[in-house]
Amino acid sequence: MKFQIMNPVAEKVQEKGALAPRLKSLEGKHIGLYWNFKGGGDAALKRTSELLQAKYPGLTTRIYTGSLGGSNHLVTKADAKRLAQECAGMVGTTAD
């Protein structure tokens, strides 16, 4: 026998965006290091900074955190606009 059932899964709102163009070179660039405050993330970004600065002359780095949240500080749209003005690229520790 056959019976027909209804699909329980909701369709999703689809947002479509593309990746930003990649950088031609890292020399002389300011690279942001996004830390969401999860444990160990700061250590990973510190070592990333050391390796980047050792390899690329003139490259600078700085740790950034989002402006909103508790144990995870999240990036708002306004944060993203501000970071985009300051940073040529971003390395992050986000999920776990």
Binding site: M1, K2, F3, Q4, I5, M6, N7, P8, V9, A10, E11, K12, V13, E15, K16, G17, A18, L19, A20, P21, R22, L26, I31, Y34, W35, F37, K38, G39, G40, D42, A43, A44, K46, R47, T48, L51, T65, L68, G69, G70, S71, H73, L74, V75, T76, K77, D79, A80, K81, L83, A84, C87, A88, G89, M90, G92, T93, T94, A95, D96
Partner: protein, 448 residues
């Protein structure tokens, strides 16, 4: 990271191997499906810095590559969405039901218990429980930005074993969890065992048999309606919010509280106004409140005969540094970056009738109970900060940094007096329950 890419900044993120599926799913939800990452063998949490460095060194060349080299778009691994109507073929009705259940588990659409079949007839019957149109959108639910229509809520209600009169309550529940202040994205995606607790107040609670007395939190016959409603909420989280375990719900261990948690209030035993009236609703309204909990703890005290004695036990129960929301306020407030809202963490004391009678005898108001808990549920700063993000504390509370010099200073586990919520439920027995909440309770009136 998605917001930065949209703003024109090339990014790359370290992602632990076990979080790759979540990363891919989140990238699609946040609108940049090809978001770039570099995989590391495990999360950085729990590692000393010198143990983190080798992972970074091994990944470094890939980090540079991701920032500087365009890559082909990542192939879409997502399975094609199944049809709106699915045909199940079986030797007989029972066999077909079994096949349906196996299929639903394979697809990830079930909670692990046998499901009722959401046939067109059953869903149409369920939809008679509301005046709303089936195509009405109640909310767009995080984390997956699922479009929660009345019909989709009804389908999941059928699967859970709900009846048509329950549908308006579930619609109100979805309105509540769709409110940005509920922090659905935060609580549904976490490595923590956040469980939705559904509290029902008002005339429909009694009419529908929602238990606020003995075994209100289950299991068994007295709470059969509670169980079905709470279960429907879990299925809604998954199938409408797309918080599928292992995909966007990255709960470390899980919890039995996530299957179903729903209760009414025992107004016969309560010395106070109902929970929903305190929230500003009329007593004759039926109201659903959704309140996330990390964990619940027994507050057993069969000897207390004064409010202070009972609340002393409750205060000690509250001071559990192993629960994230105990002292969470030191790091800031929970936030939703899309809606740009922030909320405090609140906890809930579910007062059993025996303990409620003590408050009644001494004429204690809810405010007095709150003030007692705020004053006495305190822990040394050193204990609260030891296992958490000190950088977040430094950023969120620059005016409190003096406390590093006196780390044994006792501070309240919740930020303000009003962070302690309470209600009355249960039956005879000196056992209240303390619920360690995440965020704040969100209430919505039921439109029957």
């Amino acid at each position: 990271m998605a917001e930065l890419e949209k703003a024109g900044v090339p990014t790359v993120a370290y992602v632990a191997r076990s979080f790759e599926k979540d990363w891919r799913a989140s990238a699609k939800v946040f609108g940049v499906k090809d978001l770039l990452s570099v995989t590391v063998p495990r999360p950085f949490v729990g590692l000393a810095p010198e143990d983190v460095y080798p992972f970074v060194e091994q990944a470094f060349d890939t980090v540079v590559k991701r920032l500087t080299q365009a890559e082909a778009a990542i192939a879409d691994e997502e399975r094609a969405q199944a049809a709106d109507i699915i045909t199940i073929d079986g030797e007989d009705r029972y066999d077909a039901l079994e096949r349906m259940n196996r299929m639903f588990i394979e697809q990830g659409w079930g909670d692990g218990f046998p499901l009722w079949a959401p046939t067109r007839e059953r869903v149409d019957a369920m939809l008679k429980g509301t005046k709303r149109n089936p195509s009405d959108v109640i909310a767009v639910l995080a984390p997956g930005k699922g479009i929660a229509t009345v019909e989709k809520i009804a389908i999941n209600a059928v699967m859970a074993g709900c009846q048509p009169p329950h549908l308006p309550l579930l619609i109100a529940a979805v309105e509540a969890i769709g409110d940005p202040r509920f922090m659905m994205r935060n609580v549904a995606m976490s490595t923590g065992a956040h469980a939705p607790m559904m509290i029902v107040n008002g005339p429909l609670a009694e009419k529908l048999g929602i238990n606020g007395g003995r075994c209100a939190l289950g299991p068994g016959a007295p709470s059969a309606v509670n169980t079905a409603l709470g279960r429907a909420v879990r299925l809604i989280y998954m199938n409408l919010g797309h918080a599928y375990p292992g995909q966007m719900d990255l709960d470390t261990l899980g919890s039995p509280t996530k299957y179903s948690m729903c209760l009414g209030e025992n107004m016969e035993a309560s010395p106070w106004e109902p929970f929903h009236v305190e929230k500003g609703f009329a007593v004759e309204q039926t109201v659903v409140t959704m309140f996330t909990t990390y964990a619940i703890s027994e507050v057993e005290d069969n000897y207390a005969t004064t409010p202070e004695a009972m609340l002393s036990t409750a205060s000690l129960s509250a001071c559990n540094p192993g629960v994230k929301s105990v002292g969470y306020w030191l790091l800031g407030w929970r936030g939703d970056p899309d809606a740009e809202v922030m909320v405090k963490d609140k906890h809930l004391l579910i007062v059993c009738p025996v303990h409620a009678a003590i408050f009644k005898k001494y004429n204690w108001s809810k405010q007095q109970v709150r003030e007692y808990l705020y004053k006495h549920a305190r822990m040394p700063f050193s204990q609260l900060i030891a296992k958490t993000e000190k950088g977040a504390f430094r950023k969120s509370h620059p005016g409190l940094q003096w406390i590093w010099d006196t780390p044994e200073t006792k501070i309240p586990i919740l930020e303000t007096v009003d962070c302690f919520e309470m209600m009355v439920a249960g039956a005879a027995g000196g056992r209240s329950v303390y619920s360690y909440g995440a965020g704040e309770p969100i209430s919505r009136a039921v439109d029957p």
